[in-house]
């Protein structure tokens, strides 16, 4: 017996593998539930009930044939910058609004092969550029804990879907914090593995040297399960690391004895307001209570993270997005000649933030400015990574806020730079390529709000130490259980759905 709306991925897969529930029943429960709940939340750009049913049937057939599937029957939401055969794959942009992918991203394929059921494609900031979800050209996703607030970005829909119980797990992509920040805003665990650990094949590129697919879940255990299934080398991605993946799920730990937790001197929370400061002081105290030793570490170059990031990421994006030109697929605005067609198509197809970054990136790469901007940013990136490496000589894991504040209201940040500052803590970690996650660490009532909004604790560890990272986060989560203290608005309104008891002849 299982409740596919509330249960963990682990519980669902266990029940389906044990034939206590069928994937078909899960699909038939989730499909109307999500349709109803998403009318409020707008987490999804496209629901794929037929695809979900087809996969459910396949899962049930495989289980009947004696297979055991690690994600049997687990409802999965997929960020809409990942290709899934036959689904519209828009990247949240007008330029791809009607593009139907003819192939499936490796990471998604691995999850589907492991028994996951695709609910649909989730909203995002256009081409994954943004920290609120408001840059989507197609939809405005709401924060499940306060519908007047943003879900965070760019993986807005994937975070909202999991935080709002419209999916058990989801996939996001993180370039400078696009999994960790919305996870923090939506009361979810959001995990960005080491760069190169999860194949990017089929992920619509924003900044290739930073982009990484990762899971959202309502527990560290579920995130670890998804990661274990989709991670590992992919011959279709030349940046995918060919190095064995150590399963993290069996190594989750219950305490932090003997673990040195680095608190970054430059990441002091006292400037974030008394309530937020108190929240993180409590989080660090909780880590200590679990047996960890807190040590102060320094990341003197971390303050250059934003500037570095906003040269490298736009430089890569200016090149990566050049393929959206109206020649082969997507939007085409007809014009007198091919040059004008490009211009008209791109002018109509891209939103203001995307255009801003293409312009910044084009400028940073142009001759005469390349050395001053792009090359210098690459050098700064190296220095930041070196700072982290030095810090990890003194600690095993670095703890910090995941975002500078809880979720803010729609249209609250009109200055692009103010928006960029939301990712102050996540960006340096991304530049260093480190594995990192956000785990719920409490709630604060934000300015102008009446409801407590979730906060996220960012943990980061050295390259390729996902197993250790997930272990630390699991210990913290088990001890604190912050996620369980908040209920999303939609759940308050309609109450939970649950599956009927399995029929009697089922073992």
């Amino acid at each position: 017996m299982t409740d596919p709306v509330r249960d963990s991925a682990i519980a669902i897969a266990r029940a389906v593998n044990a034939r206590e529930a069928s994937a078909a029943e899960i699909a038939e429960t989730m499909i109307p539930h999500v349709a109803r709940a998403d009318a409020e939340l707008d987490a999804y750009l496209e629901l794929t009930p037929e695809l979900m049913r087809a996969h459910a049937a396949r899962v049930d057939a495989r289980i009947a044939a004696g297979e055991t599937l690690p994600l049997a029957g687990v409802p999965l939401a997929i960020k809409d910058n990942m290709c899934v055969t036959g689904t519209t794959t828009t990247a949240g942009s007008k330029i791809l609004e009607h593009f139907i992918a003819p192939y499936t991203a490796t990471a998604v394929q691995r999850l589907l092969d492991a028994g996951a059921l695709p609910i649909g494609k989730t909203n995002l900031d256009e081409f994954a550029m943004g920290s609120s979800g408001e840059n989507s050209a197609l939809k405005r996703t709401r924060n499940p804990y306060d519908h007047e607030r943003v879900p965070g970005g760019s993986s807005a829909g994937s975070a909202a879907a999991v935080g709002g119980f419209e999916a058990t797990v989801s996939l996001g992509s993180d370039t400078g914090g696009s999994i960790r920040e919305p996870a923090a805003f939506c009361n979810a665990v959001g995990f960005k593995p080491t760069y190169g650990r999860v194949s990017r094949y089929g992920l619509i590129a924003f900044a290739s040297s930073l982009d990484q697919i990762g899971p959202f879940a309502r527990s560290v255990e579920d995130a670890a399960l998804v990661y274990d299934v989709m991670g590992g080398h992919d011959p279709l991605d030349a940046t995918s690391v060919d190095r064995p993946l150590e399963p993290s799920a069996p190594h989750l730990r219950d305490d932090l004895r003997g673990v040195r937790v680095g608190i970054v001197k430059e990441f002091a929370t006292s400037d974030l307001g008394a309530e937020i400061d108190a929240c993180y002081r409590q989080a660090y105290a909780d880590l200590e209570a679990l047996g960890a030793e807190l040590v102060e570490v320094e990341l003197p170059t971390a303050k250059y993270g934003l500037a570095t990031y906003y040269l490298i990421a736009p430089a890569e994006c200016s090149s990566n997005l050049a393929r959206f030109d109206g020649v082969r697929y997507g939007l085409r605005v007809d014009a007198a000649d091919v040059g004008e067609m490009y211009e008209a198509t791109r002018a109509a197809g891209f939103g203001p933030e995307v255009k801003r970054r293409i312009l910044i990136g084009t400028y940073a790469l142009s001759s005469g400015y390349y050395d001053a901007y792009y090359v210098k940013a690459q050098k700064a990136r190296t220095r930041i990574a070196e700072d982290f490496a030095r810090a990890f000589e003194r600690c095993d894991v670095i703890a910090s806020p995941a975002a500078s504040s809880p979720a803010f209201g729609f249209n609250a940040k009109t200055d692009p730079v103010a928006m960029y500052l939301m990712d102050y803590y996540t960006i340096p970690v991304s530049l260093a390529g480190l594995p990192s996650l956000s785990v719920p660490c409490g709630a604060v009532v934000p300015d102008g709000g009446s409801r407590p909004m979730p906060m996220g604790l960012q943990l980061a560890t050295p390259l390729f130490t996902e197993r250790a990272l997930l272990g630390y986060a699991h210990a913290y989560e088990r001890a604190t259980r912050h996620a369980d203290r908040l209920t999303p608005r939609t759940m308050e309104m309609e109450g939970s759905m649950s599956l009927r008891a399995p029929s009697g002849n089922r073992a």
Partner: protein
């Protein structure tokens, strides 16, 4: 690559006034041309540069495409190891160095048949650096041109414009075929060491025969697998500064290269002698008109915004890799050519034939090793043996005549054991049935009769039977000698030693 890149060193032998067939005016004038060649050569690999689509020519448009070579959203490139190996071998064949570290860069520009709107190429860390192409001209003069680099990149698709003449101007629509998009290309960049149109062609021919022999490319110009640009400038003979250059784009036959460069040299000399100034620009070649024409000035050149491709990790090429590939190279066509001409005293034309055909050269050299007689062997190899191979549509090396048997045949001819007529017959038998030349000679009784007494007896018989001819000869009509010689040869069934026959005839007739 620019003429100003690096000053030309005084590198190697450079014949003055080379290329007898050259129609260009520069030989007779005070002007000297400075030419730098860049060429793109499609590599012969099983699959494309960054995806698994087959690398083949032609076919139904857009049938050899996948998410990667169409640049569908989310698709990623994976480098083709065979292409990288080809490039290393191509570089090593010309003595290039192979740096330990290399990387791919993106060259950003918008073009309708370029799916990503950037080309994956190599900018500051190419797979090969330097090297020298030694080449030779038809008349045997030789030269050399330094290579700046050979690097690896991907080809674009092909546009067809729906206009009367297939050009973009006036077209109402364009069709794009992406079958070629992503095919691996090597770009060979030469230093401005070349001084005439003929040298330019000789340089390209040497590249082509070497690449073909290495198996790295078919170098089929008619299929566009070798495309060439030339930077041409002229200066007063003896000047150290380069003149202003023009770049002639996309010549796709050796004939076009020769004519376009010659025409451009003449144009520039005429401009300068008329008191004008050559402007730096890109020029197209009009095959029908036989002239180059201005396409765009360099001031409008693109800013390609090169940067390291973040989808591809840098390459580390080990010394072991390089040495393993070096071991597969063998002798280059030029080395072979030079050996034949310098050591074996073979003329340039026939040495070129051998240099162009590795299998033929190998057969020839094995036969020479056994016979010790290069010129005698060559006469058979390029003569009757090649004719037999052509007639049967095969290759000399694929026939039943082995190099050892051929060497035997050469020795038999050289020693006078058989005459040339018999040799032809023996070769026919060798080609069709194989076996040993000696055995064929013995079996078919083809040994030449050089015994003085035996030949003299036949001569006597023939003279007795042809009293009128003898009388004619003695009466001063010496031209009957040919008839009498033929009669003696016939009577000996072709086996008499022809020189002995001549000697004895004269002796007896003049007696």
């Amino acid at each position: 690559m620019s003429n100003t890149m690096s000053a030309r060193s005084n590198g190697g032998p450079r014949p003055e006034g080379m290329g007898g067939a050259e129609p260009g005016a520069e030989r007779s004038s005070n002007w000297e041309a400075v030419i730098g060649i860049e060429c793109h050569v499609e590599l012969k690999t099983a699959s494309k540069m960054f995806c698994g689509c087959p690398n083949a020519f032609g076919g139904e448009p857009n049938t050899r495409v996948c998410p990667v070579c169409l640049a569908l959203p989310g698709a990623l490139p994976v480098p083709n190891a065979q292409a990288i190996e080809h490039l290393i071998r191509a570089g090593l064949a010309f003595g290039a160095s192979i740096p330990a570290h290399s990387k791919f860069d993106r060259k950003n520009y918008f073009y309708p048949d370029m799916p990503k709107n950037y080309q994956i190429s190599q900018y500051d860390m190419p797979i090969t650096q330097g090297g020298i192409v030694h080449y030779w001209l038809e008349d045997g003069t030789r030269g050399e041109c330094r290579l700046t680099r050979i690097h690896l990149e991907e080809d674009t698709g092909k546009s067809t414009h729906a206009s009367a003449d297939g050009r973009l101007a006036g077209a109402t629509s364009s069709l794009v075929d992406f079958n070629r998009a992503g095919v691996p290309l090597m770009e060979c960049v030469g230093e401005p060491d070349i001084r005439s149109a003929d040298e330019a062609v000789a340089f390209l021919e040497t590249l082509a025969r070497t690449f073909r022999e290495l198996g790295v490319s078919d170098v089929k110009m008619e299929e566009g697998s070798l495309r060439c640009d030339a930077n041409v400038s002229v200066r007063l003979r003896g000047a150290s500064e380069y003149g202003t250059k023009a770049e002639i784009k996309n010549m796709n036959s050796f004939r076009s290269v020769r004519r376009a460069i010659a025409s451009e040299i003449e144009r520039q000399i005429a401009v300068l002698e008329g008191g004008g100034r050559v402007i730096q620009e890109t020029r197209g070649w009009d095959e029908a008109a036989g002239t180059t024409h201005s396409q765009r000035s360099k001031e409008q050149a693109h800013d390609y915004r090169y940067f390291p491709d973040p989808d591809l990790v840098p390459m580390d090429i080990t010394i072991d890799d390089v040495e393993r590939l070096r071991a597969t190279l063998g002798e280059t066509p030029y080395v072979r050519y030079a050996k034949y001409v310098d050591e074996w005293k073979i003329d340039s034309k026939r040495a070129t034939q051998l240099a162009d055909d590795r299998a033929l050269a190998a057969f020839f050299e094995r036969a020479v090793a056994a016979s010790g007689n290069p010129l005698g062997t060559l006469a058979f190899v390029l003569g009757d043996l090649s004719r037999l191979a052509n007639e049967s549509g095969t290759h000399v090396a694929d026939g039943k005549a082995t190099p050892d048997a051929l060497a035997e045949l050469v020795a038999l001819v050289q020693s006078g054991a058989i005459n040339s007529k018999a040799a032809k017959s023996v070769l026919d038998t060798l080609w069709n049935d194989g076996g040993s030349a000696k055995a064929i000679v013995e079996r078919e009784g083809l040994a030449q009769v050089s015994d003085r007494g035996a030949v003299a007896a036949i001569v006597d018989e023939v003279l007795a039977a042809n009293a009128k001819s003898v009388a004619d000869y003695r009466g001063g009509k010496t031209n009957v000698l040919g008839f009498l010689t033929g009669a003696v040869m016939k009577a000996s069934r072709g086996k008499a030693n022809p020189s002995l026959v001549g000697e004895l005839l004269k002796e007896k007739l003049d007696a």
